[in-house]
Subunit: 112 residues, 2 copies
DNA sequence: TACATTGTTCGACTAATTTCGAAATACAAC
DNA sequence: GTTGTATTTCGAAATTAGTCGAACAATGTA
């Protein structure tokens, strides 16, 4: 496979995006791409098996969240930030929002 | 159970919201609440079993998306629109975005 | 050509989620 | 209290999603 298919942004549904970003690993991938820009697959796979990561990249790609370009042997992923933002204003900020510690602390307080 | 617990909006994480809205039935519930305002459970359960719907309302509630108030024998659900919107600007528009026909047509065109 | 690198696909397994009937709970009205 | 309505909880079955090793494909380099 020399090149990936990516859905046009107009074909991307809110549900596809919600579903793609509902997995912690995929949300983390999107977050890193939003923060640090394009990265290849291995840079993003914290010691996780390649087949697992490959699956997650596919879900993100099919949902229209990530674009993958093939350059030599590596596959460069990037967040489709501008397109996503024009289709769903505010989504990139939601992806970046990751105050896990705060929300865990609050959640703990709430649980009491 | 006389009253439900709802997480404070500050404890709501993007992932919880993504995950709650990743299910088509729950997204549809949120959408109707966004469009038509508060509704009770049965108004929202298109002939689906009550136990199924009850599960979905719980997920939406726990994720901070929906608020449920008990009034007599009925439970009135509403979208926590203002709170959600202040926490995640743009989220309500994303919930409302439901151009299913357009996106399906585009998806079909894309699949060719 | 052979080899190393990067990533995908396949298939099997496991884990999580969804579904739904039956029983239970909550409340209002009689 | 008994009845009726609205909804939850429980438990089990069905479905869907995630994980991961092994085999495969594509590219670059010696």
């Amino acid at each position: 496979m020399v090149r990936y298919e990516h859905p046009p942004i107009s074909a991307v549904s809110a549900r596809d995006v919600f579903q793609a970003l509902s997995d912690p690993i995929r949300l983390e991938i999107a977050r890193r791409l939003a923060r640090r820009g394009a990265q290849n697959c291995s840079e993003l796979s914290d010691a996780r098996p390649r087949s697992t990561m490959s699956h997650h990249f596919k879900v993100l790609r099919d949902a229209g969240v990530v674009r993958t370009l093939v350059q030599g042997t590596e596959h460069i992923n990037s967040l489709r930030s501008e397109e996503l933002e024009s289709r769903f204003p505010g989504i990139v900020a939601m992806i970046l929002d990751d105050d896990d510690e705060r929300s865990e602390a609050d959640a703990a307080a709430f649980a009491r």
